[in-house]
């Protein structure tokens, strides 16, 4: 079966400099001091160490692991925001990422204008945004406030709006980072229904979350990361069991 997404031997390193050199003056001064010696010392921190998995089309993937295990880094690489030091990501189809909601929102603009700006950032054509404006505002449940300034909306309303725009992008692959838990119960239910709908349409969802129940519901397979290493990759039930085991044995020790 064809792959929707293939992650091949992904390595990502961040630098933790020993000596902070952020200015040209410092840079010149220290290069003179250290002339001939090792000029730029830093510690390497590997956020991902050889992560390797694939997602078959029409299937979804959950990425779980403790804080700092590399989940978000992995998602950012898949979304092309960060570049890996080694390895590659192959995607089959269009992707949209909800890493953080409301990127590019501007409080002084009206709700409708923000929908247009955010739509452009998420990769929607302006014509499509215009056509779907009503359905976006309806889904967010703030059709009444279409001409109000965004800053006058409650933060929950803003998040709902952002989410509504994001799901309108209608991609083949959805990258979601902890973004599902926005809004009140009613809105969360609406989002779940939407995601179920996506799933039934055969779209792929890559879900980074601590909500294991979500992973159980949506994902056939899961990946367990710990300190950048891929501990387990396989059917969701097994991976979650392994995760729970690890957490328990850690708390006993």
């Amino acid at each position: 079966m064809e792959n929707a997404l293939k992650v091949i031997d992904l390595w990502k390193k961040f630098r933790i400099p020993h000596e902070k050199r952020q200015t040209i003056i410092q840079s010149i001064a220290t290069s003179l001091q250290l002339l001939g010696k090792n000029r730029y010392t830093y510690e390497e921190f590997w956020a991902l160490k050889g992560v390797d998995f694939s997602i078959r089309s029409r299937e979804s993937m959950g990425i779980i692991g403790e804080n700092g295990s590399g989940k978000s880094t992995l998602l950012k690489i898949i979304a092309k925001i960060l570049r890996p030091d080694k390895g590659s990501v192959q995607t089959n189809g269009t992707t949209a990422s909800i890493l953080e909601l409301g990127v590019g929102f501007h409080g002084e603009l009206t709700v409708k204008e923000n929908v247009r700006v955010y739509g452009a950032i998420m990769g929607l054509r302006s014509r499509n945004v215009k056509d779907r404006m009503d359905s976006i505002l309806d889904f967010a449940g703030i059709a009444r406030f279409r001409d109000a300034k965004l800053k006058n909306l409650s933060s929950g309303m803003q998040m709902r709006l952002a989410f509504s725009v994001a799901i309108e992008t209608n991609p083949d692959i959805f990258l979601v980072d902890e973004a599902l838990a926005v809004g009140d119960l009613d809105f969360q239910k609406k989002c779940m229904d939407k995601f179920r709908e996506f799933k039934n349409m055969g779209k792929t969802i890559v879900l980074v979350t601590h909500g294991l129940n979500l992973v159980k519901e949506f994902c056939e397979h899961a990946v367990l990361l710990s300190k950048g290493e891929m501990i387990r990759y396989g059917p969701t039930g097994d991976v979650i069991a392994e995760y729970e085991n690890r957490v328990q044995s850690a708390s006993i020790r």
């Binding site: 961040f14 952020q22 200015t23 040209i24 003056i25 840079s27 950012k76 979304a79 092309k80 925001i81 960060l82 570049r83 990422s97 890493l99 953080e100 990127v103 590019g104 950032i121 998420m122």
Partner: protein, 215 residues
């Protein structure tokens, strides 16, 4: 600012140039366009860090959008300048049609420099100070308040290493002396613009992969 410069140079010192406002206003605007554009482009990547770290798109679009916004602003400034110059006694000739061409060349120049300095500002945060001083020095080393003719002949080639010098001379030729600008200087400026644009794109490409981490 313009009034201060006019007072100092025309009234107090008594510049030899007749109709001093028409002498300095066009060059001042060309210079202003340059400083405002490059300075705001300098911050275009850092200022949009929330976008850079969260969405993927070609990063140089940030620089382009900043520069286009300033091109629009400066075009409007020039549109206002013309009636003023005519009021001050400038003769209107067909050569003023060359002014948009000059602005286009300047845009290329600005784009090149912006691509060069904006990623540097991400890694080295005092790039802004360095650029600020460069601009202040550049103001007095550019033929804005004076003519190139006051420069001793043997320093003239060095003087024209300043990529803006050719443009400033050209706009004064057109609007003050009502003659065609020397094509060699213009060509040199255009070449400088091309080279800077190339260098800028290369530097930007070098920095682009890490921008999201460093911003």
């Amino acid at each position: 600012m313009m009034i201060v410069l006019w007072l100092v140079f025309a009234v107090f010192i008594g510049s030899s140039a007749r109709n001093y406002p028409v002498f300095i206003l066009p060059t001042l605007l060309v210079w202003r366009y340059f400083t405002v554009s490059t300075t705001s482009a300098l911050w275009s990547v850092i200022g949009n860090s929330s976008l850079v770290t969260r969405v993927y798109f070609p990063r140089w679009l940030l620089v382009l959008s900043s520069n286009l916004a300033n091109l629009l602003g400066s075009s409007l400034e020039f549109a206002v300048l013309f009636p003023l110059l005519i009021l001050l006694g400038m003769k209107v000739q067909w050569t003023i049609l060359l002014v948009p061409v000059l602005l286009a060349v300047e845009f290329i120049l600005i784009m090149g420099i912006s691509l060069l300095i904006s990623p540097l500002n991400v890694r080295y945060r005092d790039m802004a100070q360095v650029w600020d001083i460069t601009l202040q020095v550049g103001f007095y080393f550019s033929p804005i308040l004076f003519d190139v003719t006051v420069i001793p002949q043997r320093y003239v080639p060095v003087f024209f290493l300043n990529p803006l010098a050719g443009l400033l001379v050209a706009i004064r030729q057109i609007l003050y002396y009502n003659s065609l600008p020397s094509s060699t200087y213009l060509l040199l400026t255009a070449i400088a613009g091309g080279v800077l644009l190339l260098a800028g794109s290369l530097v930007f490409r070098q920095f682009e992969p890490r921008l999201a981490e460093e911003v």
